[in-house]
Amino acid sequence: MSLNVESPVVSTAPAPQPLRLIDDTGHAVTDNAGDFVLPDPGTLLGLYRQMVVARRFDVQVTALTRQGRLATYPSALGQEACEIAAVASLDPGDWLFPTYRDSIALLTRGVKPEHILASFRGEWHSGYDQYEHRIAPQATPLATQALHAVGLATASKLKQDSTVALTLLGDGATSEGDAHEALNFAAVWQAPVVFVVQNNQFAISVPLDKQMRCRTIADKAIGYGMPGFYVDGNDVAAMYAVTSAAVDRARTGGGPTLVEGLTYRMEAHTNSDDPSRYRAAGDVDVWRRRDPIERLDTYLVSIGALSDQERAGIRDEAEDLAAATRECMMLPVRVDPLELFDHVYADPRAALAEQRAFLAAELAEHAALAGQPPATPSAPTTPSSSTTPAGAHA
């Protein structure tokens, strides 16, 4: 008797086709769209604009990193459809839980370039106001942020708020225990949370088939009792349709959803990576032909929703942003060494005050030795008070 016959899943079964609304060549398709429908042209044009701007930003920052202006930068080149669709499906009061890779999602949500890049430039770990933007710090320890998203969503539910949380994850991160715990907690608590896995097919150098053996990441949803969608992650129309529906579902009490966007990491993992060691240039070319921006451009042109003039306007906007980004990355980094001690505890500690005084004295002495005026006396920043953080109850 063969177990394969009996088994509910044959691991070698081919994966289904990913859900899509616009194909690689820029044509609207319905062959694998479920009952999702194309967003209206205005929405698509908005997504197009955001993708173009985001890509320009991403390319600019990669270039600046190569020039040594940033310590590191994980590019999302090629993944714009996933990033922008995820953000676009959120209301302003919703929360985003991104990773290191998702800088363009932050940009799209309105975070200023210099605040996004503060961390990659080495100024501070997270450089934006998390409550103002309702964006958690970009997470590096993989999959950990998914649990935070579930917790926040659960708190929103307990308070009977309508806030939804959306978290971005990589394909590799789904192997971590925390990804499993997050999906399971979300399902059991029916938390208003959406998991968007950007399956860019690599975890640094490790390809997907060394990461998992199921057909799609979306299949994993079955094991948690939640809906899972396998989507063409380079089709922003499909990604947007699915993530928006998932966000709505979460908001209206329907619980969590897992969305997989099948995409590709066009750049190296970060500037310090060398992809030639683990993948052929030809593979990248295949995916270049599936470019998310190109195909939407073709489609929008074909329905008359994008003129050359509009495109030029968008490109100008993107160039302006790139120029502004360049400019602020050329400014010298300013850090205050004494700030090191300011945000460790809410409740001030004598030992830290001592250490702060020690460093202040050392700095003063160095300045004196160097014949410089002593550093501006910097009063200890008042530790954040115990009032509830603004926006916590949004």
Binding site: W95, W124, H125, S126, D129, Q130, Y131, A136, P137, P141, T144, A146, L147, H148, A149, V150, G151, L152, A153, T154, A155, S156, L158, K159, Q160, T163, A165, G177, D178, E181, A182, N184, F185, V188, E339, D342, H343, V344, Y345, A346, D347, R349, A350, A351, T381, P383, S384, S386, T388, P389, A392, H393
Partner: protein
């Protein structure tokens, strides 16, 4: 049910003999009653009331919205607590036994401890992680660990441990009210210790050490489960004409240099007692910092009387592992007394 405020007037309860477990229970209860943002979850903390019954009755009183059994996953418990705290709740979570906090290590060290720092003070995580710790209850393997060295070596965490019911109540209330994440270490072997208390009781602030018994010859520093051992030692020592001052640290991080240092400068000799293994244990920090700051007041090296440098042993062997008054007195006897 929503998280509406249901603050009831604080009425002092009549004095009653309370176990530490009951005092902890009352502290959570009163915090939940007074602050609707306090929520409680973890493994078996709901209808069962926790394996040590510390959360007994809270599910019945506050309901599913504020008290819930979570899926069985400690990283999940701490990770979701972090998300809730970002949204303005004050979660109190339980790790069922010390060693079962280890799956949550990454969430505790990389996020809980660092979130305020990472976000330049923007995000506070007012979370209490209750950890029943240490041994002496005949527990099988993995049920008697003392993990305080891991937490206290982690900047960003506050680590405290009460040794008696009054402190248990007062310190847990303070921990829940704190805007810093607190690792609240409950000495399992003291859960059933009784004290007559009239709640609510407020003892000295959570971050201070307390001189429990005055003495002139030696400062004996203990916390959590070994406070009882230290007091017994002091009692025994009087027969030998040795006057021992006993300090209950209460707070492991921060360390109360002022109180402990003052005692040491008075006695000029000190020893620290804990259950955990000695090598790299919390006592190393106590000895190192006290020596740094008070070297010229010391008549003898600071001693550490601790568990051996081995994994916590099986029930029938724990009596040989745990520091006893005899062993402490013997150690003090190794000093040259002039």
């Amino acid at each position: 049910m929503t998280l509406q405020s249901t603050i009831s007037p604080v009425v002092a309860r009549p004095p009653a003999a309370l176990t530490m477990a009951a005092a902890l229970n009352a502290a959570i209860h009163d915090s939940m009653r007074d602050d609707p943002t306090v929520v409680l979850f973890g493994e078996d903390v709901g209808p069962l009331g926790g394996v040590f019954r510390v959360t007994d009755g809270l599910y019945a009183e506050f309901g599913e919205t504020r008290v819930s059994d979570s899926p069985l996953a400690e990283s999940g418990i701490v990770g979701t607590a972090i998300g809730m705290a970002i949204y303005g709740l004050r979660p109190v979570v339980e790790m069922q036994f010390d060693a079962f906090s280890y799956p949550a290590f990454e969430q505790i060290v990389s996020h809980l401890a660092k979130m305020r720092n990472r976000t330049r003070g923007r995000i506070s995580l007012p979370i209490v992680i209750r950890i029943p710790y240490a041994g002496d209850i005949g527990g099988v393997e993995h049920h008697s660990d003392s993990s305080e060295a891991y937490w206290s070596a982690t900047p960003g965490l506050t680590v405290v441990s009460p040794s008696n019911p009054a402190d248990a109540y007062s310190m847990l209330r303070e921990a829940i009210a704190s805007d810093d994440p607190v690792i609240f270490m409950e000495p399992k072997s003291r859960y059933w210790m009784k004290e007559v208390l009239s709640l609510p009781v407020q003892t000295t602030p959570m971050n201070t050490a307390v001189v429990l018994r005055e003495g002139t010859d030696v400062t004996l520093i203990a916390y959590g489960p070994t406070v009882k051992t230290a007091l017994a030692t002091a009692e025994l020592a009087t027969a030998e004409g040795l006057s021992i001052e006993v300090i209950d640290l209460r707070s492991l991080s921060p360390f109360d240099d002022a109180t402990v240092g003052a005692s040491l400068r008075k006695t000029s000799r000190a020893a620290v007692v804990h259950e955990a293994a000695q090598f790299g244990g919390y006592g190393a920090e106590v000895a190192a910092r006290l020596t740094e700051r008070n070297f010229f007041h010391l008549a003898a090296p600071i001693l550490r009387i601790t568990g051996f440098d081995i994994p916590y042993p099986s029930p029938k062997l724990e009596e040989y592992f745990l520091p006893t008054p005899d062993r402490i007195l013997a150690a003090l006897g190794t000093w040259e007394w002039s």
